[in-house]
């Protein structure tokens, strides 16, 4: 084939894949993330889903950054890090991760409708299987968020964990949070972020 000599230029661009269940706040995380990366001087593209899929369905957000980003979207085997806001979602999207990629997984289960109605069982052994195959960081974001005082800050706990796992410390994330989150929710989210960094 005449095209074999082509060099893949995607290596210099980093790919973050956020997955979860509609309503878990993946979109807010991607908003903070992209604002921070843009501040650090990167070219940034982000892609997310709206509408029907958001109603309690499986949702993904992709964030790509680097010197120059063309595609807002990645395919299978292209993500450098997968952040799963829900355990089973980590497995659903795992083939988007590079074999040497990192998994940050929230140790949190949300039963989907076939599970809730008893037609299927929530899968066992997810964390073990993840750990056997990938560099895996397990986060108890629900517990951390509850301790902080608002279960809904799980998403920002996970952002903190992502920043730590992916070593994105060149950005002043607290300042970014100040610029992207409403005043009423700011303090608790800063706490959540710091907690995520510690876990």
């Amino acid at each position: 084939m005449p095209l074999e000599g082509l060099v893949n230029k995607m290596n210099s661009v980093k790919n973050i894949l956020l997955v979860g269940v509609g309503g878990q706040g993946t979109i807010l995380v991607s908003k903070v993330l992209t604002a921070g990366l843009m501040k650090a001087g990167y070219d940034v593209k982000m892609s997310e889903v709206h509408g029907m899929a958001q109603r309690g369905g499986s949702v993904t957000t992709q964030v790509r950054y680097g010197e120059k980003v063309y595609s807002p979207l990645i395919g299978k085997g292209m993500a450098d890090i997968l952040v799963a806001f829900e355990k089973m979602e980590a497995v659903r999207w795992i083939d988007y991760l590079k074999p040497d990629g990192i998994v940050v997984v929230n140790n949190y289960e949300i039963p989907s409708m076939p599970i809730a109605t008893g037609k299927a069982e929530y899968p066992h052994g997810i964390l073990e299987s993840l750990k056997d195959n990938f560099k895996t960081i397990v986060i108890d974001a629900a517990q951390a968020a509850t301790e902080i005082g608002n279960i809904k800050t799980q998403n920002i706990v996970l952002l903190g964990a992502l920043v730590k796992a992916f070593n994105l410390t060149e950005v002043d994330w607290i300042e970014v949070l100040r610029e992207t989150i409403t005043e009423k929710m700011l303090d608790i989210n800063i706490k959540a972020f710091n907690r995520g960094m510690e876990l």
């Binding site: 892609s47 309690g56 595609s71 089973m88 979602e89 988007y96 991760l97 899968p123």
Partner: protein
């Protein structure tokens, strides 16, 4: 100034910078945020949610005739609704520039089909522009208005989900000072009577030749020569995917003005590269025209026609390159979207689901989820409005075959105003053996809460006349219009029974606001399972609420999700579900 913007935000910004003064739309994913962002510029742009896409297009067309630069935005299937005025306006031509934004949804993330609306440009003989990122959404829109006015043509501005909902960096500009052109009465131009239309069609054909010349020169179409072994012709988001895969190892003819296609430029490019590929999402719209011109190229032989593309798919299709990935030996359970906890539609669909052979014709909205397990209380979903009119057809098919069962047709409040009203009229006028049901949750839900004619507020935030669904149905001729709280299961059940037995036109309006509407009073209490009383009968699971599931062998209600609608409480025969937090 630079900002990270979605394509939809950038289109809104582009409309502002281009001097647009009138914009109209009907919400539909992935187009909705265009108008939601245009209201940011409400000091200089009048904008409205129209009752449907046809009205939106006509309002924008009228504004264009009146001299304003105008914009209509809709999702791909919305263009089907608006097609009638669009085709004729392509004959008439503009006064102020006119742009129709069509937001297509490859992969059907939130749609009933994945039609490729680029064919509309060719079919309606209107010029077409396709941006490939947010910056181009803004910049190309400004050029679109110049072309519209210079060549006297409406413009189809075609975007897709990944353009609309991806964010990328945009350099902002200033608003152009464009005055509303004077309106001059011009019967031969603007009255599409046969004699005028005949002349108009001849003008359109001449205009297309001029537009093809423009296309060959347009700044929106450009050649990037790199390695000439591979030449790639592409447009829209597919260009970004191709560029990601091939970088400088291929040459590109990047098309932003895609109807009429720049055939001279395409020929020139094809002669300068060794192997020519056409990379486009969905249909072979560009490829067909290139092949028809006798130019050899490879397209849909290798590039999939189904669903959206991405760099991985293109690398595999053309280079045979696969990215290594691993799957785990864990069985994953599907996670289909569901009605939210506390959704007012649940009580209605649960009631309907109790009688399995009931025929329920559905429609487009959150309530389409009533078709999903475990409710499965919907037989059809076709398009906006068909909940009533397709039900009418089924009722007539039943009637001629001697079947007496009444059909129930379902539409939401916004859908009722969109195109449910005409179906409701048909049922009374032509004596349908069916019951129209309006699921009135006081908002346009699925697309993210837009105002509609029933909410008493406009897009621009002004209070306005609240059109009363019940009064409209009465005026149409329904003798009984029963208003019921769908979460009151007993009342819901009685209403359905009464409707089935009614001998005169009978309509139902279920009325309860969407739980996600901001500013509603917080729920007074939540529901909780008394585990001693739970007999494991699983009745409460039949309501299909994501907050209710089995945990450690008995029913459990997740407190962080429950909003206390009490539907599950009403179906429990053992009083095992009670209230907490009263």
């Amino acid at each position: 100034m630079k900002r990270l913007m979605s394509g939809n935000e950038a289109i809104a910004r582009g409309a502002y910078e281009a001097g647009v003064t009138v914009a109209a739309a009907y919400p539909g994913t992935p187009s909705t945020e265009i108008l939601e962002n245009i209201i940011e510029y409400k000091d200089c742009i009048y904008s409205e949610w129209a009752p449907n896409e046809k009205v939106a297009a006509e309002v924008a067309i009228g504004a264009s005739i009146g001299g304003a630069r105008s914009l209509a935005a809709m999702k791909h299937v919305g263009v089907n609704v608006a097609a009638d005025p669009i085709f004729t306006y392509a004959y008439l031509g503009v006064n102020g520039g006119f742009v129709l934004v069509s937001a297509d949804d490859p992969s059907m993330h939130s749609s009933q089909n994945e039609q490729d609306n680029r064919y509309y440009a060719k079919f309606a003989k209107m010029a077409m522009v396709e941006p490939s990122d947010s910056q181009e959404c803004k910049d190309f829109l400004k050029e679109a208005y110049r072309v519209s006015e210079k060549y006297d043509t409406p413009i189809l501005f075609r975007v897709t989900t990944r353009i609309c909902h991806s964010k990328s960096i945009v350099e902002l500009g200033e608003r152009e000072d464009v005055e509303v052109k004077p309106y001059v009465k011009n019967i031969p131009k603007y009255v599409a009577a046969p004699a005028n239309a005949k002349l108009a069609h001849a003008r359109v054909e001449k205009r297309l030749l001029e537009l093809e010349e423009y296309s060959n020169q347009s700044p929106l179409n450009r050649i990037e020569y790199n390695n000439k072994k591979i030449g790639i012709i592409s447009s829209g988001i597919a260009y970004q995917y191709a560029k990601e895969v091939f970088g400088e190892d291929a040459s590109y003819l990047k098309l932003g003005f895609t109807y009429p296609l720049p055939m001279k430029l395409i020929k020139e490019f094809s002669e300068n590269v060794e192997e020519l590929y056409v990379i486009e999402e969905l249909e072979p719209y560009i490829e067909e025209q290139i092949k028809a011109a006798g130019i050899k190229c490879i397209g849909k032989e290798v590039i999939p026609k189904l669903y959206e593309l991405n760099p991985e798919i293109i690398a595999k299709a053309i280079l045979g390159k696969t990215y290594e990935s691993k799957t785990l030996d864990v069985e994953v359970v599907p996670r289909p979207p569901v009605l939210c906890p506390g959704c007012p539609h649940r009580g209605f669909f649960y009631t309907m689901s109790k009688k399995k052979n009931r025929v329920i014709t559905g429609d487009i909205g959150c309530y389409t989820l009533g078709a999903n397990q475990p409710l499965e209380a919907m037989d059809t979903c076709i398009c906006m409005g068909a909940g009533f009119s397709a039900g009418m057809g089924i009722s007539k098919a039943f009637e001629v075959s001697g079947k007496k069962d009444k059909v129930f047709g379902v539409v939401g409040d916004s859908t009722f105003f969109h195109s449910g009203i005409t179906g409701a009229i048909d049922i009374v006028y032509n004596k349908g053996n069916m019951v129209p049901v309006v699921l009135d949750n006081r908002i346009t839900g699925m697309t993210g809460h837009q105002e509609n004619p029933g909410t008493g507020r406009t897009l621009m935030g002004e209070p306005t006349t609240e059109i009363d669904v019940v009064e409209v149905l009465k005026a149409i001729g329904y003798k009984t219009v029963k208003v019921v709280d769908p979460c009151d299961l007993k009342a819901m059940e009685n209403t359905v029974k009464e409707a089935e037995e009614a001998t005169e036109p009978y309509a139902i309006v279920t009325k309860r606001p969407c739980v996600l509407i901001k500013g509603l009073p917080a729920p007074k209490n939540k529901c909780i399972v008394d585990r001693d009383k739970c007999k494991k009968c699983r009745m409460c699971l039949k309501v299909g609420c994501p907050a209710v599931f089995f945990k450690d062998g008995k029913s459990y209600i997740e407190q962080s999700m429950c909003v206390g609608c009490e539907v599950c409480m009403q179906v429990c025969k053992f009083d095992a579900i009670g209230r907490v937090g009263e």
